[in-house]
C-alpha cells in the first residue's frame, strides 16, 4: 500500500513540473479521460488471461521436458538438451511472428491471435521451466529416492508424492520470477494484434498523441499487476514453508 502511495505522489509531482504534460487524456474526472482509462484497463483482461494460460502450459511442458533430462540414459538426456538449447535460443518476438505468420503456411492450421500468443510464450518459457525443474529435482537428496524404493513406490508415485512436492517448494521463487517475466513478455503479443494492455495503449496514443502520459499509465498498469503477483507468490511460499516447520 505504501508503495502505491509513493508512486501516486511521484506522479503528482511530475504532472506539476511542466506545462507540457497533458494529464487530461487520462483524467478520471472528465468523461473523455475516464473513457480513455477504461479503454486502457480493458486490456488487462487479455494480458492476464494470456499470461496465466501460457504459464500453466509452460509449467506442464517444462516438467515433461525436465524429466528426460534426469534420466540415466544418454539419449533421453539428449532430447532434453536439444529442446532446451534450441527453444531458448529463439527470441520471443521472433517466435511470436514465426508462429503467427509462418506456422500456418507450414501446417495449414491458422491459430487465432490469442492461441498463437499462448503457444509462442509457453514454448519459449518452457525451456526455462525445464531447467528450473531439473535443478529443483536434482537438489533432492538421493536418500529420498532410496527410501521411496525401499517401500516399493514406482517411479510415478515417487515423483508425485515424494520428489515433486519437495522440489516445487524449493523452486517456488524461481517460478514466481517466470510468472513476472511472462506478464511482461505478453506485451510483445501486441505486435500481432492481441488486444492486451500494450496494444490498447498503442491504439490510444495513435488517436490522442499523448505518448508520455499514456505510456506512463501503461507502466503503472504492469507495475500494479506484478506487485500483486509478487505478493501472491510470497504468500504461497510462506504457506508452503509453514508445513515444513
Amino acid at each position: 500500500m505504501k508503495r502505491f502511495a509513493i508512486f501516486g505522489i511521484l506522479l503528482g509531482l511530475l504532472s506539476g513540473c511542466s506545462g507540457n504534460w497533458g494529464w487530461y487524456v487520462v483524467d478520471p474526472t472528465t468523461e473523455g479521460g475516464m473513457n480513455n482509462l477504461r479503454f486502457m484497463l480493458t486490456g488487462a483482461y487479455y494480458t492476464i488471461l494470456l499470461s496465466v494460460t501460457a504459464i500453466i502450459a509452460s509449467v506442464i511442458v517444462g516438467l515433461l521436458v525436465a524429466l528426460p533430462g534426469l534420466s540415466q540414459k544418454k539419449s533421453w538426456r539428449a532430447v532434453n538438451r536439444v529442446y532446451v538449447e534450441v527453444v531458448r535460443a529463439v527470441p520471443i518476438l521472433v517466435l511470436i511472428l514465426w508462429v503467427y505468420y509462418g506456422l500456418p503456411t507450414l501446417t495449414g492450421i491458422t491459430l487465432s491471435v490469442f492461441w498463437a500468443g499462448v503457444f509462442a510464450l509457453a514454448l519459449s518459457d518452457s525451456a526455462f521451466q525445464a531447467e528450473i525443474f531439473r535443478a529443483g529435482i536434482q537438489s533432492i537428496s538421493k536418500g529420498q529416492y532410496e527410501a521411496a524404493k525401499s517401500i516399493s513406490l514406482n517411479y510415478r508415485d515417487t515423483m508425485r508424492y515424494v520428489i515433486l512436492p519437495q522440489a516445487i517448494r524449493r523452486i517456488l521463487p524461481a517460478l514466481g520470477n517466470q510468472l513476472v517475466y511472462m506478464l511482461k513478455m505478453s506485451s510483445l503479443v501486441s505486435v500481432i494484434g492481441m488486444q492486451e494492455l500494450t496494444r490498447k495503449a498503442n491504439e490510444l496514443v495513435v488517436s490522442e498523441y499523448r505518448p508520455l502520459e499514456i505510456y506512463t499509465i501503461l507502466v503503472l498498469e504492469y507495475l500494479a499487476l506484478i506487485l500483486i503477483v509478487s505478493a501472491g507468490v510470497r504468500w504461497l511460499e510462506r504457506r508452503m514453508n509453514a508445513t515444513e516447520v
Binding site: 532410496e146 527410501a147 524404493k149 525401499s150 516399493s152 513406490l153 516447520v245
Partner: protein, 248 residues
C-alpha cells in the same frame, strides 16, 4: 530352528565403483528368522552388501536370490523382492514434507492399495510398536533423531516385510538416543523378524545376533556365532578390529 532354509542367498557377488572393487566374490546365506549382524571397518563393503539385497546397488557378478526370486532389473522381480524387504537407513530418509502419519501410510496406500482408514490403523499399530503414537501428526523435523529413526522403522514395518535391512541405524544418532532405537530393534528381533544389521553396536550384536559377519576390504573374512566371534575370532584382521572397537 531359524536358519534351516535360507531366505536370502548371496552367491559369489562382486560389485565395482568405477575401478574400485567394493565387493569381492561375496557369499552369504540368511535363514528365515535369522538375525545377522555385519560389522567391519569403514569402506569394508558392508553397507554395499546389504544395499545390494534390495538393489539400491546393482551387483555386477554373481547371484542374489531372495525368497526364491532371483534379483534382476526386471520390474516384476524388483517389486516382489522390495515388497518382502524393508530398509532402515543411517540418515532416516523420512519424507520431510509429510507428517509422521503420512510417511507411514504412503506405501500402504499407493503400493498395497489399502484405504486411508486401513492404512491409518496399520500406521498407528506400528507407531505404538515403536512407542511414539503421540507423534503421528508432527513433521519429521519436530522430532529428535531417535524418534525419527523409530518412525523410519515403523514406516518399513507398515509394508509388513519378511526381512528388514538396517544400514548403520544408530550411526547418525546422539549417544543418548542410541538406546531407544536399539531397544525397538531388540523387540523386533524377539518377534522372529529376519534381520540383517550393519552396525558397530557390539552390545546389541552380542544380545540379538544369531550370526556375526566380519567384512574387510570387500570380502567376508569371518562368519560365526556371537560366542565364537567375540571370544575366539580366528582371523588376525577380525581380532584387531574387535580390539579397536571394544577397548576404545
Amino acid at each position: 530352528m531359524p536358519g534351516d532354509q535360507p531366505i536370502i542367498q548371496i552367491k559369489n557377488i562382486s560389485k565395482y565403483f568405477d575401478d574400485f572393487q567394493a565387493l569381492k566374490n561375496v557369499s552369504l546365506d540368511v535363514g528365515l528368522g535369522e538375525r545377522v549382524v555385519v560389522c567391519g571397518p569403514s569402506g569394508s563393503g558392508k553397507s554395499t552388501l546389504i544395499r545390494c539385497i534390495n538393489r539400491l546397488e546393482a551387483h555386477e557378478a554373481g547371484e542374489i536370490i531372495v525368497d526364491g526370486v532371483t534379483l534382476t532389473d526386471s520390474r516384476e522381480a524388483l517389486d516382489k523382492i522390495r515388497g518382502n524387504v524393508g530398509m532402515v537407513f543411517q540418515q532416516f530418509n523420512l519424507f520431510p514434507h509429510l507428517t509422521v502419519l503420512d510417511n507411514l501410510t504412503l506405501g500402504p496406500k499407493r503400493v498395497l492399495r489399502l484405504s486411508q482408514a486401513e492404512a491409518e490403523v496399520r500406521a498407528m499399530k506400528y507407531l505404538e510398536r515403536v512407542q511414539i503414537p503421540d507423534q503421528a501428526q508432527k513433521y519429521p523435523r519436530q522430532l529428535s533423531g531417535g524418534q525419527q529413526q523409530r518412525v523410519a522403522i515403523a514406516r518399513s514395518l507398515c509394508m509388513e516385510p519378511r526381512i528388514l535391512l538396517f544400514d548403520e541405524p544408530t550411526s547418525a544418532l546422539d549417544p543418548e538416543m542410541i538406546a531407544e532405537v536399539l531397544e525397538v530393534m531388540t523387540e523386533l528381533a524377539s518377534t522372529g523378524m529376519t534381520m540383517v544389521v550393519v552396525t558397530h553396536e557390539m552390545g546389541f550384536a552380542r544380545k540379538v545376533a544369531d550370526k556375526m559377519v566380519f567384512m574387510d576390504k570387500g570380502e567376508i573374512v569371518e562368519t560365526g556365532s556371537p560366542e565364537q566371534f567375540f571370544t575366539a575370532p580366528t582371523s588376525q584382521r577380525c581380532r584387531t578390529f574387535l580390539d579397536q572397537i571394544l577397548n576404545h
